[in-house]
Symmetry: C2
Subunit: 132 residues, 2 copies
DNA sequence: CCCGTAATGATAACGGTTATCAATCCGAGA
DNA sequence: TCTCGGATTGATAACCGTTATCATTACGGG
């Protein structure tokens, strides 16, 4: 059995991620931890986030600029996101309608083992008001 | 007014892109051009692809690994893609259903200036058969 | 033709991410 | 509680895709 050790670093990343309500980059989370007085290493943050994502404890997606972002989501099952491109505020979206469409579209063309990327980026109400 | 010059490089990129039926990376296209004997520079390929994408002559998306891929699409309007993650084969998809959903989802949550990323990655029929 | 300037391309720089590897320390077993 | 093997860490170098630089080339309106 693969042993999974409990280090304060791993816990620090989990907590830091939980304390945020939007998606964050590894570097952003690392900066936040350092600002809070932690001496955690950047490589560790990268490793831990990637691991949490694999295990399913965190969701990850790529920003339009190609940066990997992470988030500790409330809902456990498969879902998508509506993200503010300015402040990162995120709304979790469950859309059966889109799930069905994606599956049907793939099979209609004979594609197998299909996965989909469905994200909506916009300006949240607050940011919209602020930029008006 | 900004003038748009016709260089053999620009034409070479256009042709190389047209000759492919799947999405390609800038480096991949550059390599193909070099292999065909062209002496075009890598920076030029990057610039031209980005430009063709802005003008609308090419579509672009990010691979799951975060690399920018380009393609000269047949349909001119807004559409999405069903892509074979193995050979790159691409099927253009027009899904009014999803367009409506995306717009409604964003406005329902007060988000403005919303854009969406909708792509399906799978194995095309040929690649599915080959890996069986 | 001429010439102003857009375009090119070799190369350096950039930004995010991963690999290295010696030092650290977690935790199963004694 | 103590030990010790190996998982984990972190400073740093390396990696890789992409963009910035800037001297040189060459498109194209006049
Ligand atoms: Mn889905
Ligand atoms: Mn769409
Ligand atoms: Zn916002
Ligand atoms: Zn295929």
């Amino acid at each position: 059995m693969t042993v999974k050790r409990n280090t304060w670093q791993r816990e620090a990343v989990r907590e830091a991620l939980d304390s945020r309500d939007g998606f964050v980059s590894a570097q952003g989370l690392h900066q936040g931890l350092r600002d809070a007085g932690s001496h955690i290493g950047l490589a560790t943050v990268y490793r831990t986030l990637a691991d949490l994502a694999n295990v399913g404890e965190a969701d990850s997606l790529q920003s339009p600029e190609g940066e990997s972002l992470y988030r500790a989501c409330a809902s456990t099952g498969h879902h998508h996101h509506l993200i503010c491109r300015n402040c990162g505020l995120t709304v979790e979206i469950a859309a059966t309608e889109v799930e069905v469409w994606a599956k049907k579209t793939a099979s209609d063309h004979g594609f197998t083992d299909a996965r989909h990327v469905v994200d909506i980026f916009g300006l949240c109400p607050a940011c919209t008001a602020a930029s008006a």
